[in-house]
Symmetry: D2
Subunit: 304 residues, 4 copies
């Protein structure tokens, strides 16, 4: 595995610099686009990594996977009364579908759906407790107590998240947000600002590749059925309106974040984290996606 | 395998009669809703089946899988200039997305996309030749020369396909249909009227489970990469705007038809055909889908 | 009046050549863009005109006003069960609204609505009779037996009207077209190809300015209420998704055609026909609209 | 005039009680649905009224007419860079069009457009000053210093206006709102809570019927051109997605409010205010609209 990821890393280093780093908040715009990291955590508990694998980045929308897992643990399939399980066919921050469908987001990985998931996590807790629980969960599955929220990014998001504020208020009008919008957004922006390096991220996602079990502990996080279902959602919805193309080219469940991070699951094999900050037109990591496609191809990882 | 499919068959027989047989053309409405057939073709060339497994039905939209395979063989990835690879987020016969996106259908499994695929097959051939080639292809992969088109159903569709006629003319206006609409529809309605029983259908789809190879011949139909990619499209788009939910619950690439047929692919294991004519609200087989879900669950077939 | 229209004509002649003549059918593309005609028919029966006022052009969508009037005479307010009375907020040939609203077009002046109106006119008659009745009606209100259909344009439209064919088939699927699509389109394209010069067109529309009465006969064509209501529809819907802006700038009920013709109604005063073939981005006569705006402003004709 | 409005009042009193009072905020739900008032202010300065003509109600969306007039006075036609002039074809609080058209509302009478107008009024002023200016303007044109904001209704709206909050944040994301959302909404909800009786409202709107001049003063509020243009906007957009039907049936520029108020303009004749709190399905006064239609018909007021 180590030679393979190093070969892929080497192949794509020359292309670094292409694409465009997200600049809708100043903190993200500061990141050097010439970064590339690849890490693979395998089912036997080993972690392979290369490139800028010790540099932390905020995981942004990848956090939606962990928040969903935690919320399903809290309310079970009742969650699906408030969020759908279908690809939306529209951009990640679109509001159109919400108006057509009475405030029920199509899936938990578009922003609207993630806000409802966060709203569910808030039930019975203060915002500080909620983000604490989520952080604790991520540390637990990653087996790493050093993972933390980047407070500067969290604050920066809070100041610019007009579209998310619109989505939350819109759903509140339909009764599909139950807490004050400021509280929901506060938790949401902090969950997006959870910072990890690629080794940590690969380890954090590994339970989805191992039928819900933790390689480093003798216990399961979720049932095998639930792990598979989360993977199914990642495959059909994890790359927003680029999910079909990603399934076609890469063939793995995955979730992307606007910071250039990618988490992909290879069932029964392991989990992969890739990071490269410059984005393609769809807002996903340009080089990261290409590197992941090559890695999956060379390793023969397609689930199809 | 045989005891398993018989157990599933037995479990769902009591529910036959629920749902509603498609009645938009008289020929489909005549079918007895109390039908249930299950067939599994495994990678080693065996076929297991039970229930009404010798009764032929028209495969309808399942034919889109075979037409796509043939068209990719003909024009390769140039096909994707005229059809997308994303879930549409809208019903199978919706025209809205076409207007927003200049006549380029989102994927080859919604009706608009399938019409473009058929239009591609027509290039350089007469309609009669085109449907002949498609039929020949299906016979070849199924290893069964007796498969034929049901002419009564084909004619009945021709008389009622107003929506498909609208879709084709609409795309013609954007230059994304190249042949006369009557010719395209003629071939399309005949491909939908290809009739098979479940054993034939399972065998016809098997090459998608075996990396593109034919179990009964020493040759490949398509490359492994292409087979995987067709499977990926079936997973994200094969059940129209129910694809996300189907992936969540069943976890297999599949394609449904309005006659109540279902084809599902279990990579490296085999292919499954299920048939039960009464439909759920999404227009897919009600009991067939439930039986397939149970079968996949008991066999542990999820790709996730 | 004569000096006024001549002054406006003179003012805009220097701008002729700007804009773009419709070229979706070859026959329209042949027209010299350096044409400008203005005619005013006043309630007392006089007609004033200037410029290329003796040159006939096909009235295209302006024919929708006469077809609607005739259809209302035939079925009365039952017509509104099949067509709405609201601005669509979308382009003249959009199909999106039809899918959202079950095949009921928003108003009789978008293409879909006009096709339903034509379908109504066909009830009980052959296409040839139907177009004959419409032509007879236009000749009657214009008091001019020489008005005729341009058969070359009619044929040319028939060969290129894919979008209209899509609209008609789409509505047929919803049961809102009752005759064969070919027949409906045949009549529709012939009604669009009715050719008049500006003097004839102004005279033909005059009954809408005179409470439904004919200046040249001692009789009414429609009731005052109906004339007012047709004017209301022209104001809110007559310029498609430019109707609001036209009302804002010109302040008169009007209907435009893709050949560069315009018919405007000044209640209790008279009717105005303007023609200049080169179009603006919305597909309405560029110089014709500007000349009409100036004329209305100088004459103080706004209904507001 | 007095006998006419009394006759219309008498005719519709028996129907009071039908329809449904707005209940999205508690304060509006408290109003007795058995109310009906009609007032007509004529160009000569007289005011006729009947029914509950001395009972004040909050004018809600009718305030958009006065806010637009004031904003046009402030920034002139620059306003149209940020708001369109077309009917939207969608409900008054729809957000879909904003996403399709980059945060530019279709017209100043849907909620999104009105929020931009309010945002314009805020430029250079504090919220308290802004609402003060608007109130002063309404008092000036109505010639009545007693008109005031209903603070209880204003507060109640503030607590429930999630949809408006979503619209404002959404436009802020596109840069089409320049002030803090809380400030814009604060002013907006206060302008909606301006309370008048029908006599006051008819007088306040009269300048739009008199070419922008004030009957009670020797001066103009706006130019004749601007008055006409505001009337044109009221006709095409004043009743949201019921504007076409209202123009068809009543034939007058008008603006409705969710409290059951209606303001209609009869150019060169006068202005009409009607109030009856119970609403039809479109959210406009049920009996008020019918009474206005009858009054316009009997008085022969249609502008068409």
């Amino acid at each position: 595995m180590q030679p393979l990821i190093e070969a892929v890393h080497e192949e794509f280093v020359p292309y670094l610099g292409e694409g465009k780093v997200a600049d809708y908040i100043p903190e993200l715009a500061k990141v050097d686009p010439h970064r590339l990291a690849i890490a693979v955590a395998t089912a036997d508990g080993r972690v392979y990594s290369t490139g800028d694998d010790a540099e932390a980045f905020t995981i942004q929308s990848i956090s939606k996977v962990f928040a969903l897992t935690l919320a399903l643990g809290k309310v079970g399939d009742d969650l699906w009364r408030r969020v759908g399980r279908e690809p939306s066919g529209t951009p990640f921050d679109s509001i159109i579908q919400l108006e057509h469908e009475q405030g029920i987001p199509r899936n938990p990985f578009i922003n609207a759906g993630a806000l409802v998931v966060t709203d569910i996590l808030l039930s019975g807790y203060q915002p500080r407790e909620t983000i604490g629980q989520l952080l604790e969960f991520v540390r637990y599955v990653a087996n790493d107590e050093t993972i933390a929220v980047d407070p500067v990014v969290a604050r920066s998001e809070t100041e610019h998240g007009y579209r998310n504020r619109a989505l939350a208020n819109f759903m509140l009008g339909f009764g599909n947000i139950e807490h004050a919008v400021d509280l929901v957004l506060g938790v949401y922006f902090h969950q997006c600002a959870i910072a990890m390096d690629c080794r940590q991220l690969a380890k954090a996602g590994l339970f989805l590749a191992t039928g819900g079990k933790l390689a480093h502990r003798n216990t399961g996080v979720v049932s095998t059925l639930r792990a598979r279902r989360i993977n199914a959602l990642m495959l059909t919805c994890g790359q927003y309106d680029g999910s079909g193309d990603f399934a076609f080219r890469v063939g793995l469940p995955s979730k992307s974040g606007v910071s250039g991070g990618l988490l992909a699951i290879v069932p029964n094999v392991g989990s992969v984290a890739v990071w490269s900050p410059a984005l393609n037109k769809q807002g996903n990591s340009l080089i990261g996606t290409l590197a992941l496609e090559r890695l999956a191809e060379r390793a023969g990882w397609s689930i199809f």
